[in-house]
């Protein structure tokens, strides 16, 4: 019943550049378009915000627990009388920077591991997949906490701690894509014509394996932001840098007096991650060839 041959296939596609076609599909997803706009705004705030609103988030500028909108502080002040808006604006930088860097790192590790495993198969695949399983067994947050606790809470170390536990999903996706694509005719043809393995892997197969990896990478940025928020909520963060999770963590004892000091940074995280995941959904629709054929 699912594929009814009676229903005509209309909209015969006209050949166009794949990127243009993907953008066309993306634009049709209204939620993803709105999310893209929101996300762009957040990124702009992260880049330019600190110049437009140059208040230091560590300065005690006013009486503690001044509610939002009162006394001229749009989002109020925290338990030490620090400006919450300044913390949100400066925190955006850390969250997005770490989110991007950690996602980049895990994509790099994941693609390398997955590509080698899927391309060479045999014992290489066996060993690499066992290593992947090993990393899946370690409880991610605890492992990152241990790394940060043992080796120091600098931003690069936090990024490393997040990246090193997050790459397994990318590795699995890359591997299964490689396993699928390496059997296709154009790869066999390319192999038969004597193309070198490295070129075969990265010039022939990888570009065709990219769509699901890109979608996964987008989602990873979101989960890395959540991850960083969790770590900094627990206090495992660079004490000289303000981040959204850290604001929640440091204010949580005062939730009865000033719930907004926790609610507002949480909304910032929530909206950012939600926007990223909706954009990821849109990318999925746009890049998934199976959907496009429908």
């Amino acid at each position: 019943m699912s594929t009814n041959p009676l229903i005509p296939k209309d909209n015969v596609p006209i050949a166009r550049h794949p990127a243009a076609e993907a953008w066309e599909m993306f634009r049709r997803n209204h939620a993803a378009m709105v999310a893209l706009v929101v996300l762009s705004a957040i990124v702009l705030v992260a880049i330019f915000g600190p110049y437009i609103y140059p208040i230091d988030p560590f300065d005690m500028v006013w009486a503690p627990f001044s509610p939002p909108g009162v006394d001229g502080f749009i989002l109020g002040t925290d338990y030490l009388g620090r400006d919450l808006l300044a913390a949100i604006i400066h925190g955006a930088r850390v969250s997005i920077l770490i989110g991007l860097a950690a996602a980049l790192m895990s994509v790099f590790i994941g693609v390398t591991v997955g590509a080698l495993a899927g391309f060479y198969r045999g014992w290489v695949e066996e060993v690499l997949m066992r290593i992947t399983e090993f990393f899946q067994v370690l409880p991610t947050l605890l492992f990152s906490m241990v790394i940060v606790a043992l080796f120091g809470a600098s931003l690069p170390m936090i990024t490393f701690a997040i990246g090193i536990v997050s790459w397994t999903a990318v590795a699995r996706i890359t591997r299964s894509e490689f396993l699928r694509i390496r059997e296709l005719e154009y790869v066999t043809a390319s192999r038969a014509s004597g193309t070198k393995n490295s070129k075969l892997m990265f010039k022939v197969i990888l570009p065709n394996a990219l769509p699901p990896i890109i979608v996964q990478a987008a989602l990873m940025v979101g989960s890395a932001i959540l991850f960083e928020a969790g770590l900094s909520f627990l206090g495992l963060t660079d004490p000289n840098v303000v981040s959204w999770g850290q604001v929640i963590g440091s204010n949580r004892q005062y939730i009865l007096d000033a719930g907004y000091t926790v609610t507002i940074p949480g909304i910032a995280i929530f909206v950012t991650v939600l926007a990223i995941s909706l954009v990821g959904d849109g990318l999925n629709d746009a890049l998934n060839p199976k959907l496009r054929q429908r």
Partner: protein, 325 residues
């Protein structure tokens, strides 16, 4: 027989994974700046070099790396995870004290999320435009995007502080006296918010997958056969369709144990739940390395056991897995 053999292989493989965790544990401890001798000397208020060397010799820290590692692994296999100088207790004892609370939280949250998730999935698959289906969609967005500790704090503000429906923190009220059921209800009341906080993320995951697989299964040929047999709607959905839609959800749940434990760490921190997560948090602040690594080991153990249980569950549900092993 083949199935029993494959099960033994899995258990063996699980053991190898655990040893690997120990190797990683020890290497990290070795690579990290500062060692047990430093910790002891700090807790004594400082020590001279001679004393430090003495301590290092006592604890075998002057031995080669591999010897030390071998001894560490040997000790762990005898359930000796070292000594916590911060708590003045053997790490194993410390962890076994806290483990039950975490297991309770993790398993109750997982099982409830799985159970409710599958039911929600079934209901919303049968009515793709119904309330349940919209709820699943919204829950999926929220569950993925909201930081779990933030959800926890919001629930805490709402249901423990504003409306004082549930206790603010901990697992039990020590002032309460009474029989088993009094304590049972007391713990249950303490559990409500942590379980909702932790479970909602996974509920989102399971209900969405369950809806998707159930919709696929409801359109399958064998469901049509079941209808053509003249079975009731209930038999068709709950006997023929449900059992087939379970395997992917159980597989996903099995992959989540590591994530559930990570979530539990944060949830425990929010609700001061006296489990491994809180212990981990406290020992990290106290830089109590043996305890931290012990917790990492035990939580990996929980994940591995969880994976084995998932395997068993899959065997129960799907005869094809049973025969292939």
């Amino acid at each position: 027989m083949a199935s029993l053999q494959s099960l033994m292989m899995r258990i063996l493989y699980a053991a190898i994974l655990l040893i690997a965790v120990l190797v990683l544990n020890f290497s990290m401890m070795h690579m990290a700046p500062g060692d047990v001798a430093d910790t002891i000397s700090q807790s004594m208020g400082g020590a001279d070099q001679e004393l430090l060397d003495q301590i290092r010799a006592d604890y075998g820290l002057d031995q080669p790396f591999l010897v030390q590692m071998g001894r560490y692994i040997g000790n762990v296999l005898q359930f000796d995870l070292g000594y916590s100088f911060f708590y003045n207790k053997p790490v194993t004892e410390l962890i076994l004290q806290r483990l039950p609370a975490t297991l309770l939280l993790v398993f109750v949250a997982q099982i409830l999320a799985l159970f409710i998730g599958v039911i929600l999935g079934v209901i919303s698959a049968r009515k793709p435009n119904g309330i349940a289906s919209h709820f699943v969609t919204i829950l999926a967005l929220f569950g993925y995007s909201a930081p779990v500790f933030w959800t926890g704090i919001l629930l805490l503000i709402g249901f423990s502080l504003k409306i004082q429906l549930f206790p603010v923190a901990g697992m039990r009220d020590v002032t309460i006296e009474g029989g088993f059921w009094v304590h049972f209800i007391d713990v249950a009341r303490h559990m409500v918010l942590p379980v909702i906080t932790l479970g909602s993320i996974f509920l989102a995951l399971y209900s969405r997958l369950s809806r998707a697989t159930m919709m696929e299964v409801l359109g399958s040929d064998y469901v049509r056969t079941a209808k053509a047999k003249g079975l009731t709607e209930r038999q068709v959905v709950y006997k023929h369709a449900l059992k087939n839609s379970l395997s992917p959800v159980i597989t996903l749940a099995g992959l989540q144990f590591s994530a559930v434990i990570s979530g539990a760490v944060l949830v425990e921190a929010v609700f001061s739940w006296p489990g491994l997560g809180t212990l981990a948090f406290q020992s990290i602040i106290a830089r109590d390395t043996p305890t931290i690594l012990g917790i990492l080991f035990f939580s990996a153990l929980v994940v591995i056991v969880g994976n084995l249980l998932t395997d068993l569950a899959l065997r129960l549900v799907d005869p094809r897995v049973r025969s292939k092993g």
